[in-house]
């Protein structure tokens, strides 16, 4: 792995100093020259948003756009009806817009499937962010509400939908308020929008799963189903049903305005570190290490993340140190959980220089999922963390299919045994065998996520697995777990 020379920030201090939260010199220099972040005011979000790691509490962020702010910043929403639909589809193809809820399915392919089935039907903005580590959808919905609603209107017009829905968790109060206010603003401004319904579902992990949403909107329970025909062709009442992540729709709204030629790509990530979930909008060429360095600037610098101050070679230089909550000093992280709880672990030396581009990550055998980078500091037991997440996920399943009902429970229990030092070598072999049996066989992708989490943990923390097996316990000191794990089963 290449090691570029240690870069200096514009005022001559090393970035390591910035990362050590050394704010004694010039506080105004905090934001200068940090690589990766889009210049203020560009892109979807325009600035960072910080949330508490363990609660929905927002610590800092830009002001929510009113309709007037929104139109000043982005201009009016172009129509996507009639021939404009073809233009927009062409743009989505050219910018290769893929779903940002984690599946990376091309948006244009869904639209074409709906159109070839005669159009009409339902378009859903999926605002139910089930992943506990993620906050980027909440950030968009609360700060750029109108951009999401523009995207929903464009999608509904393009496929001629009769119904446009925003689907969200019943407990997402801030998001609900933002949406209600924005919809009222649009009504009183007399915008030519399709009518939008706000529909809430249970506060469960799987409420955001697209087949569960379609089932709920068809009058059934909010549980995933196995679809023999794609929902984009026949989803609700035999008509097409498109479910799009809210970031995907915000990108549709932006692309409808810029077209493909003036399109600027970005990646929206949630960095979970230091007790915060920090939502950043980054240049896709940004590396994991750089993303963490940008996130490490504390909340006071919110809204001032700037990437334009340095020459490009320095903007892409690796920045490594993060605050270590165990030792209280700055040090390299131990590992990164990419893609969230159904994602995969990577040791820090393999993750640090990866660029946040879907294709680059896929070639490295990993992915960002819904855009999550969760940092495991040195000195924290990755097996214990994995066991707690696996236990949470096993309890959050729909309990409809065999792999979910029995397989995930067994996997989580074995993982808990391994974390506690109760497991032997044969248990690890069973864990690996169960993972292989579950993979690809769930009613939805939930079981596959747990398999990925556990397998990558066994690889990433292989040495530590051996220690647990030899010692019969964990030798690392107990530490507060750095990731949010909601209490109890949610199903």
């Amino acid at each position: 792995m290449s090691r570029l020379p240690r870069p200096l920030s514009a005022d001559g201090r090393s970035f390591d100093a910035l990362n050590r939260h050394d704010r004694t010199a010039d506080p105004a220099a905090d934001h200068i020259g940090l690589p990766g972040a889009l210049p203020e005011g560009e892109g979807l979000l325009g600035a960072r948003v910080d949330y508490d790691a363990h609660s929905p509490v927002r610590l800092s962020g830009p002001e929510a756009h009113s309709l007037a702010d929104h139109r000043r910043r982005f201009g009016p929403r172009p129509s996507a009806a009639g021939t404009a639909a073809d233009t927009l589809l062409d743009t989505l193809d050219r910018i290769r817009l893929a779903g940002r809820g984690g599946a990376h399915f091309p948006a244009a392919v869904k639209w074409r499937a709906a159109l070839s089935a005669g159009g009409g039907g339902t378009v859903v903005a999926n605002a139910a962010e089930g992943e506990p580590a993620s906050a980027k959808d909440a950030a968009l919905l609360q700060h750029r509400t109108h951009l999401v609603l523009d995207g929903l209107a464009c999608a509904a017009e393009a496929i001629g939908a009769d119904r446009a829905v925003v689907w969200l968790h019943a407990g997402a109060h801030s998001t609900h308020r933002a949406l209600t206010r924005a919809l009222a603003e649009r009504r009183s401004a007399g915008l030519r929008d399709p009518h939008v319904e706000l529909v809430t579902g249970p506060d469960a992990y799987l409420s955001g799963e697209s087949s569960a949403i379609i089932r709920a909107l068809s009058g059934g329970p909010t549980l995933p189903t196995f679809r023999r025909v794609p929902a984009a062709r026949s989803g609700i009442g035999g008509r097409p049903a498109l479910v799009h992540n809210v970031e995907t729709l915000a990108r549709v709204a932006l692309a409808a305005r810029t077209g493909a030629d003036d399109h600027r790509d970005s990646t929206l990530v949630t960095v979970v570190s230091d007790g915060r979930r920090t939502v950043l909008e980054l240049d896709p060429a940004t590396t994991v290490a750089q993303a963490l360095a940008v996130a490490a600037v504390p909340a006071g610098a919110a809204g001032r993340t700037v990437g334009a101050g340095l020459p490009p070679e320095q903007r892409h230089a690796p920045l490594r140190a993060v605050h270590d909550p165990v030792s209280g000093t700055a040090g390299e992280p131990q590992a990164i959980l990419l893609g969230g709880y159904g994602g995969g672990w990577l040791p820090w030396d393999q993750a640090a220089d990866l660029r946040l581009e879907h294709r680059a990550l896929r070639e490295a055998g990993t992915g960002l999922g819904a855009g999550i980078l969760a940092v495991l500091p040195a000195g924290v037991c990755g097996l214990q963390q994995t066991a707690l997440i696996a236990d949470y996920l096993a309890g959050s399943g729909a309990r409809q299919c065999g792999p979910c009902l029995f397989g995930l429970r067994d996997v989580a229990d074995l993982m808990l045994d391994l974390a506690a030092g109760r497991a032997g070598r044969s248990d690890v072999r069973r864990l690996e065998r169960f993972a292989g049996e579950i993979e690809g066989r769930g009613g939805c992708h939930h079981p596959d996520g747990v398999v990925r989490l556990v397998r990558t943990a066994l690889d990433t923390f292989a040495d530590h697995v051996d220690e647990h097996l030899r010692q019969g316990r964990c030798l690392l000191p107990e530490a507060r777990l750095p990731f949010p794990v909601p209490p109890g089963p949610q199903a």
Partner: protein, 76 residues
């Protein structure tokens, strides 16, 4: 399993949500349907030749939950 050379035969699939792990399929078509550690069917989803497709069809109709299905071109 009996993959058809031209890869154009039907494929045996399981709807895991409908499946209750009753296990009739694995009795009726043991060559095509395995069983996992929890008693639920495992199929490999490869295209089937004519003889296997007949056996798969028997497994499909044996399921009390209608959880098995054949996907792709029907055997002529």
């Amino acid at each position: 399993m009996s993959a058809r050379v031209d890869g154009s035969g039907p494929r045996l699939r399981v709807d895991p949500v409908a499946c209750d792990g009753i296990g009739m399929c694995a009795h009726v078509a043991p060559r095509l349907v395995g069983v996992d550690s929890w008693g639920y069917p495992v199929v490999d989803g490869s295209p089937l030749d004519r003889r296997s497709a007949r056996s798969a069809a028997a497994a499909v109709s044996s399921c009390p939950r209608r959880a098995l299905f054949l996907e792709g071109p029907a055997e002529s």
